[in-house]
Structure formats: structure tokens, C-alpha cells
Amino acid sequence: MSTLLILGAGSDMAVAIARKFASEKYDIQLAGRNTAALIPQQQDLQVRFGVKATTHMFDAAHFASHTAFYAGLPVPPDITVCVFGYLGDQEKAQQNWQEAATIINSNYTGAVSILNIVAESYEARKQGTIVGISSVAGERGRQSNYIYGSAKAGFTAYLSGLRNRLFRSGVHVMSVQPGFVNTRMTQHLTLPPLLTAQPEAVATAVFKAVNRKKNVLYVKWHWRYIMLIIKLIPEGIFKKLSL
């Protein structure tokens, strides 16, 4: 039986991804800051799918703990999905370093710290799959969310480099650009329905794409072209836009 490790297991997207893989008979390791809060989810996976689910304390911002965290897992996971992230408050982050640092650590530094460890292990074993949930916000910096966007840009570039490095070892790295997703993280935003995916749709797309060894997954195909257009706008014009 295969095992999936989900980093940042409490988010709506993580819940959906864990359920999708559990429905395909993967055992699930749920990792998050508040393990007590993960217990209902652990029970849920066991009741619904009859798989083994475990909970593990993991704090993305506590880099020093990452080696021990990974070594402490009951079995090395076949697939590691990095879901954690923090949208934050752009305006606050412009003035408040604490907020900016939290955004950067949650979306970039923390991910690099843990995935470095996972990558070493997978490279040595010459197998494994790493899935990183990044964001279309990382494809071009915009005034409305460039702290978050730049951290995700870093994460996207990291995943791309990691994919390049691990290819020769038979380890697959997939970057996911979900676009808008209807989750609690975005529930205060008004999202265009056509461009907004449900977490369950993201989970199904991730599962299929992992099996097909896709490199970059855009959950809603529109996003690939929207971001292409956004990236093609000359900087001289782009800087005058209010995006």
C-alpha cells in the first residue's frame, strides 16, 4: 500500500486531496501545526475509506524541526504534497515585517526547508513524487498581493529547479497552479465562478496528473492562457495598471 504525506493538512484543499488519495487506497499522513485539530479528519479518512491515517506535528516556520519531523514519520511517504500557504494581508505586510515574514515563510522558506529534506530522501531511494501547490499569483507581481505572489514565485522556481535536478533519479516533481479555489482562505473574496475551482476538483486533477506524471498542472485550463497574456503585457504598461 502506498502512503501520501500531506503538509498543511487542515486546509480545505488538503482535506479534499487527502480524501481523493484515500479513496484510491493510499494511507495518509496528516501533518500540521495543530494535531488535535486534525484528529476528526484522521477519523474521517479511516471511517470513509478504511485506510490508515496518522497525524504529525509540523510547523512550516520552525525550520530546525523539519529533519526530526521527517525522520519521525512511521514510514517514508511515496508522495509528498506541500499544501500549506498563507494569503496574508498585503497592505499590512507592506508596513509590518512580522506579517511579511509569515507570508514568505509559509509560502516559500518553510516549503524549501522541508522539501529539501524530502528531496534528499527521494533522490537516495530513486523514487517518490513531490507535489507543490503554488499559485498563479506567483507568475507576475501585482500591487494587490506581491508579497504573497513573490513568495509563490520563489516556490514555483524552486519546484522547477527541483524537477530538473530529480528527473535523473526517477523522482517526479509536479507544480500545481490552482487558480481561484473556493475555500475558507478565499471565502471573503468574490470570485468569478467560471475561473473558480472547487477543492474536490483540484484534488481529482492532482490525482490524475500525478498518475500521468504531469510537470505543471493548471486546474482550470483558462488560467494557463490568462497568465500567458498577463505575462506578455509590457512592463511599461503593466506598472500603470491597477491589478
Partner: protein, 443 residues
């Protein structure tokens, strides 16, 4: 976020600030900091019971906590829907103790409405199968209640339309089954007298209900099809079904993608539908073994069938009158028949005894039918309400979108006691829905 919300009848539709929760501490923080809020499940009640200025969406509060497969006990967070539970329990030989006519409702909603099913005369309503449940009250305290602990809270929460607080967890008993199939018998009844007689004759059947053609007059007044059923035994299945008696064949679902113009449902189509349904029944009595889904959830096969009533929406009218007040049933059906505004969906059922504080069911006849919203409808329904009241009956709050305050207070004998308990747990009426405001349930 601010959203346009409506329940299954698409009436009323209101702007509401909706927030979803997955963790109890987040939910608690929200509850103690807000007013004018009401918990909301899958939006399958028909009227305004789960609509408020602030909606607490429970759909993500959907973790199954335990399933005791030996004793048939399910413990779930309140946002889990019945269809998800069926998917898990049926293959293990268990079934819901009570289910309404749709499986797309949450367990929290089932409790708040104290739903009933075709087996009410045998198994009672959902509340009778609850082992215990947690309710997050206005003070932020989560109270575990049951028929033997915090009984006042328990009975005011069963059928209490979410006014005592947010139901967060429910543990309930299941029913043992040997197959996923139902042995069904359909019986033609040429009029109301006959169907009532048949209900009595077939009352030993676990499941029973009748489709009633409420537009017929004269000798055919109230002609109907009584449908009764039992969970089938393995011996009653055919060879193919016997190979996997607890598994249903896969099938597709139809969806009505948009609202149909409401004239689609004029008197003509109502009559045509009734005839079609009737014509299928070429024999007086028909037996067959069918999967549980079409037996319990015939309308779930067409997702969003409510769109068939057009943009203006509809009201489902469901009342109950006691067995002694059969004349009341006749009088109301007569008015509906004369008016010709009713729907093809008219369901008649005989309830068994039920002792509860505020739940809808009581021993007697219950009739449910749809009325597309039109000019003059509410005045007409007000007239029907008066007749229901006159015969000592009452209306189902889960279907209600328009009842007048005095009808509720005069028809539910325990309304006063209910309101007292609500006040105790819901200080300053912080849980409040459009319905509770309209009916003055939290004053």
C-alpha cells in the same frame, strides 16, 4: 462572504453573509462575537428556516468520527450529508434509521427539522434514534445532550430549527439490512376513502406513502397509488443482484441546468403527469424488487428538480391533522382541488404516535404538495392554514416560508415551552433566522 441565498423552494432569496468552519474553536469565536446568525446545511429545507443575516455554513464541518460496524452506530460532525453516510454504511449492511425523501441533507439539518420518513408509523422520527449530540450554544459552550442528559436542550433542538445553537456532532443508531434492495408493492386506490383504508390494511409494512392526484373530483376524488415496502431479503433478489446484495448498480444523474419558465407547470401538465404516473400502474397491485435509491429518493435522480418551478420559486405546503380529523384532510384537499393551483407532487402519509416538544409529526394524516409562487397564492394558503388550525393540525416548519405568527403559536401546543428553552440557551436571541423573526420564536 456576502451571497444570495435561497433554500430548495427558491423563495425567499436573500443576501446573507456566509461563513464556513471546520474547527470548533473557530466556530465558537464566531458565535460569541456575532448576532442574527443561523446554522445552515445543504439548503434543502424549502423556506426561510436556515436563512439569516449571517449564515454559518456547516457543509465543511463534515468529518465522520466513528462507525461501529458491529452495533450500527454512526458518530459524525453535523455537516455530513446522508448520501455520504449511505455510501459508507450500506455496503456494511446498515441503513439510515429514518430518511426523508432526499438524501442531500446534512445530519444537522435532519435533527433541526426532526425529519420523518416513510417508516414514521413504525420507527418514529429521526430524534428517536439519536444517542447523543453536541450543541454549541450562544454562550460559546458546547453541551452534549440526549434524551437523558440536558433533556430540555435535546428536545428543543430536535425540530427546533437551529434556534438553540449550532448542532456540531450527532451520534445515532442505524438499521440492519441484508440487501440494498426494497421489496415494493404498489396499490391503486380509486379515491381517498380507499387509500385511507389501504393505509390501515398495510400498516404492518415498515415503509408506506401514497402519491395522490389532488386535482380529481367526484368519485375519483383523492385517487392515489399507495407504495409500501420492506427491505428485501437475499432470497428475494434475482441471481445477478444476489452476487452483491449490498451494492447498487451504477447509474447516471440528470440535472436541470436552468430554471424552466413556470408556465411549464400549468394545470395541463399537472394533469398529464398524474395520468402518466397513474397509467404505469396497469394492474391493481404490483410487486417488484428495486434498489433503495428510487424507492426512497425518486426525485434525487433529477438534480435541481426545483428549477422546474421557474425563477419565482415555489412553496411546499405540508400539514398534519389527527386521525380523528379526517374531515379536515378532505376539506383541505377539496379546496386545493377546486383551486387547481397545486402540483403533481402530492404525498400522503399516515404518521404514527410521537411524543416530542416541537417536532412536526403527530399521529394523523400528513399531506405535502408544491405550489408555484403566483399572485394570490399566499392569501389562498392563509385560508388553508385557517382550516388546518380549525381541525387541530399544524404545518411543517422545514417547508414553511410564509405562515403567519398566530397560526404557529395556536397550532403547536408546546410553542411556549419551546420558546422558554430557546431563550435559556440562546441569550439575547443571537441565533435568529428569517423564519424565527417572522414567527417570533426567539422573542
Amino acid at each position: 462572504m456576502q451571497k444570495r441565498l435561497a433554500n430548495w423552494g427558491n423563495f425567499p432569496a436573500v443576501d446573507s453573509d456566509e461563513n464556513a468552519f471546520t474547527q470548533e474553536d473557530e466556530l465558537r469565536k464566531y458565535v460569541v462575537a456575532n448576532t442574527h446568525m443561523i446554522a445552515r446545511g445543504n439548503g434543502r429545507c424549502y423556506g426561510d428556516a436556515s436563512l439569516g443575516k449571517h449564515s454559518i455554513s456547516m457543509l465543511k464541518y463534515d468529518k465522520m468520527l466513528s462507525f461501529d460496524t458491529a452495533n450500527g452506530i454512526m458518530d459524525v460532525q453535523a455537516g455530513v450529508t446522508l448520501d455520504q453516510i449511505l455510501d459508507i454504511i450500506v455496503p456494511k449492511g446498515w441503513f439510515l434509521p429514518v430518511t426523508p425523501g432526499t438524501k442531500y441533507i446534512t445530519v444537522g439539518g435532519a435533527v433541526a427539522s426532526d425529519v420523518h420518513g416513510k417508516n414514521h408509523h413504525v420507527d418514529g422520527a429521526f430524534s428517536g434514534h439519536i444517542i447523543d449530540m453536541d450543541v454549541l450554544t450562544a454562550s460559546g459552550e458546547t453541551i452534549c445532550c440526549s434524551a437523558t442528559q440536558h433533556e430540555d436542550l435535546f428536545w428543543a433542538t430536535c425540530g427546533g430549527m437551529g434556534l438553540t445553537g449550532v448542532i456540531t456532532r450527532v451520534k445515532f443508531g442505524l438499521k440492519k439490512i441484508a440487501t440494498a434492495y426494497i421489496r415494493q408493492t404498489q396499490l391503486k386506490a380509486k379515491n381517498l376513502e380507499e387509500v385511507i383504508r389501504l393505509f390501515d390494511e398495510y400498516k404492518h409494512y415498515t415503509y408506506s406513502m401514497a402519491w395522490i392526484d389532488c386535482l380529481q373530483k367526484g368519485d375519483s376524488f383523492g385517487r392515489s397509488i399507495l407504495i409500501v415496502g420492506e427491505h428485501a431479503t437475499p432470497e428475494e433478489l434475482n441471481a445477478a443482484q444476489q452476487k452483491a446484495p449490498l451494492t447498487l448498480p451504477a447509474k447516471r444523474k440528470l440535472t436541470l441546468p436552468f430554471n424552466l419558465p413556470s408556465f411549464v407547470l400549468n394545470t395541463f401538465t399537472v394533469k398529464a403527469f398524474n395520468w402518466l404516473y397513474y397509467g404505469k400502474n396497469y394492474k391493481k397491485v404490483m410487486h417488484k424488487v428495486i434498489p433503495y435509491e428510487p424507492f426512497f429518493y425518486p426525485l434525487d435522480a433529477i438534480l435541481h428538480w426545483n428549477r422546474g418551478y421557474g425563477k419565482a420559486g415555489f412553496v411546499q405546503y405540508q400539514f398534519v391533522v389527527s386521525l380523528e380529523q379526517k374531515d379536515g384532510l378532505v376539506a383541505i384537499l377539496q379546496r386545493i382541488s377546486d383551486k387547481g393551483w397545486g402540483s403533481f407532487l402530492a404525498v400522503l402519509k399516515v404518521f404514527g404516535k410521537q411524543d416530542s416538544l416541537i417536532s412536526f409529526p403527530m399521529e394523523g394524516y400528513t399531506l405535502a404538495l408544491d405550489f408555484p409562487i403566483r399572485k394570490g397564492l399566499f392569501e389562498f394558503l392563509d385560508e388553508l392554514d385557517e382550516i388546518v388550525l380549525q381541525y387541530g393540525g399544524r404545518l411543517y416548519l422545514s417547508k414553511d416560508a410564509r405562515m403567519k405568527q398566530k397560526i404557529f403559536w395556536n397550532s403547536y401546543p408546546n410553542a411556549g415551552r419551546f420558546a422558554e428553552i430557546v431563550k435559556q440557551y440562546n441569550n439575547n436571541a443571537r441565533f435568529e433566522s428569517l423564519q424565527s423573526e417572522r414567527l417570533s420564536l426567539t422573542k
